[in-house]
Symmetry: none
């Protein structure tokens, strides 16, 4: 017993709008544990709509339509469905009444074209639309096949889904199980490498484990099918625990955690403070840190030393080093980190200097070369060299640089914590 989502609308084929209805319905079906294997988008064309309906009716048991319920001539979803099953449309007085009254409330007259919205297949029931004038239908044209139609307007569709469709489906025996997921997040390891480390888990039946790569981070999605959320969590946690252990320091957080929020948590926990000195990221690192509400508890600020003159005047970087080894170097990264830490009197000073491109790369210092400087307690200072690859876009290199800097601080603080715990 599986469902299928069919979104009707030429505007989708023209790319004028994002298909957020499909995502909402997909999430809803997943959370109810109703399997769905296909989504289709088709334009406002009766012939093609019927072809899509024929295919869907042949492979799925619950067809969920969105779009094409309006008053204009190109709204023909219900017409086409009824026509496909050879069932006549009948005008529903209660719909006419409902539309008339809704128009009256807006001080408007119901037009003849609105009457069209009152036509539904003979033996179908009305799926009420409290938020608009176009109702949907709930129809079983034959045993083992249920059809639900919704307008394309997301707010109306969502309310109709929640208030009428969900209770109806549960009552029909759909969605006895739920699917609950946890997203484990990793930084500093390639998707393929992590997938190999956790290979045996990728074949688990329940919970399932699936890897994703996103902007240089890798995620493992652990999903369990169960009768209730607590039961699902009970299935997920033991597996998640093992995956976290395998991930080791590459694992940084779960679900809504970000590198910035995790670093913030560690700083707050340790009662320590942070300042930053940014060259190629131009403020991106500070922006990531301050995107976390409450970051003022541990983040004091920093210096955007885009130009070398600023590295010298506000961070005290040695002009001779800039002249001899250049701004993108181990020495300058360290001096930037120490400089900002000292001037802002914070526990940690984190710096980034690199070549974001597209210009500025050389034989010895290609685009994508980045140095991270980290000055810590007891006057320790380290620097880390990264080569992010020359074919990456400027923004991607800048985003990765800021993320790597946060990850470096995270790892250093965690290692410090671990040694502190054992000693």
């Amino acid at each position: 017993m599986s469902a299928e989502i069919i979104c009707v609308g030429t505007e989708l084929l023209l790319g004028d709008i994002l298909n957020s209805n499909a995502q909402f319905l997909a999430q809803q079906l997943a959370s109810m544990g109703i399997p769905h294997y296909y989504q289709t988008v088709v334009g406002d064309n009766p012939g093609r709509l019927k072809q899509v309906l024929e295919i869907a009716a042949g492979r799925s048991h619950l067809l969920i339509f969105t779009g094409g319920l309006g008053p204009t001539p190109d709204d023909l979803t219900v017409e086409a469905i009824a026509d496909f099953f050879g069932v006549p449309l009948v005008e529903q007085p209660e719909i006419v009444e409902d539309i008339t009254c809704k128009y009256a409330m807006r001080g408007r007259q119901m037009t003849p074209s609105n009457r069209k919205q009152a036509l539904i297949p003979q033996d179908a029931s009305i799926l009420p639309n409290p938020g608009g004038t176009a109702p949907g239908i709930i129809w079983q044209p034959r045993t083992g096949l249920t059809i639900l139609t919704f307008p394309g307007v997301p707010s109306e569709m969502k309310r109709m889904w929640q208030e009428t469709a969900v209770p109806f489906l549960k009552n029909q025996g759909w969605g006895k199980e739920i699917i609950y997921s946890r997203m484990l997040k990793f930084w500093g390891i390639a998707e393929s490498a992590l997938a190999e480390k956790v290979a045996p888990f990728l074949d688990l039946p329940n919970p399932t484990v699936a890897p994703y790569a996103l902007h240089g981070e890798v995620r493992l999605r652990v999903s369990a099918r169960a009768a209730s959320e607590p039961e699902a969590v009970g299935l997920i946690e033991p597996v998640a625990q093992q995956l976290r252990q395998i991930g080791g320091l590459d694992y940084y957080g779960t679900d809504t955690d970000t590198l910035a929020s995790v670093v913030g948590f560690l700083l707050q926990e340790a009662g320590e403070t942070l300042s930053v000195a940014e060259s190629c990221t131009g403020g991106g690192l500070g922006q990531m840190l301050t995107s976390v509400a409450g970051s003022s508890n541990y983040f004091l600020g920093g210096v955007i030393s885009y130009d070398n003159s600023v590295k010298i005047s506000l961070l005290g970087v040695n002009p001779e080093d800039l002249a001899q080894v250049g701004a993108v170097s181990d020495a300058v990264a360290k001096q930037m980190a120490v400089g900002v830490k000292t001037r802002l009197s914070t526990t940690w000073g984190l710096s980034i200097t690199g070549i974001a491109g597209p210009g500025g790369g050389t034989e010895t210092k290609p685009v994508g070369l980045v140095y991270i400087g980290l000055a810590g307690p007891d006057d320790t200072v380290e620097s880390f060299k990264h080569q992010l690859g020359q074919n990456r876009e400027r923004d991607s290199i800048r985003y990765a640089s800021a993320s790597i800097a946060l990850d470096q601080l995270r790892r250093t603080m965690l290692k410090k914590k671990l040694t502190a715990d054992v000693s």
Copy 2:
């Protein structure tokens, strides 16, 4: 001759991600005048993927696949396609080489599972992926049917589409009539207000003019249908010119222009320099400015004075003012701007201090209250107060604050330029 979009990925069926790839490709096909009537989403399942392929190959002539090209076992798009047409997969040494080299550049080892990405159907050609390790294919498994595959990662897919797929398709005779668009961008005017100002243009047949609102900026898309790009531009430009005039100072740029790039252009043109002092945006303004390649020609850097101690130590803000009128005030905004301009010796100093929320708001200073400070040539300094509304998200307030600051500098520089021109 029609195209069809097939997006492969269980994450789409689970609603984990929004199908933005389908929208991008739909817009691209529309702009090239290539008709497409169906979009399908299917999971990482070879059997169902082949069923979808069979249906699509029966009704469309150009099949565009996204997703399922990665190194993990659940990435099986190319395998399934080759299997459907009964053609063996062959390892391409040049792909192996490319992947090995990309990994080496990031200081990583290519793993056996990556080798999988080097397998493509015997007689298919490689669709290069400059941004990642998973290449796509261009394949004509039989006359009248062309298959293109792309990875699911939007940035990689878009670049491959632009750099290789579009030229290939044009060369194959697709997209004879084109739709060409210009996007005019406005800041500081509401969508409804602009729509009223340009009302007569909204009914034009060719070019068409359509308004959009996006993150506080308003856009007018001027689209022409024509046989060639020059012909389309000829239709668009006269209309665009009139729209720019109507927009006045609210019009800031076209197509790829951003507030940051326009400000950069004005600064470079005037041979002037800029520095920034940021509180609530925490580096976001500097990041916007440095997202423009070549910004080092006019942007020297700045200070992220998130904590008041930094406003005092690095910007010379008067501690008594901080105590009396508070950090979010006219006086402090001005002192921040002057402070950073003086210390970095730039022509302009631009500052932001505000309450991004969700916490920190008061009766007199609610969330969304922002002051922009602007210190200019001949020791002029102004400040601008904005109330961005209390129900906006933290990130939205921060983004708007940085944009407003850039817009303020843009308007001030333009007015200065205009008076200079007339005098």
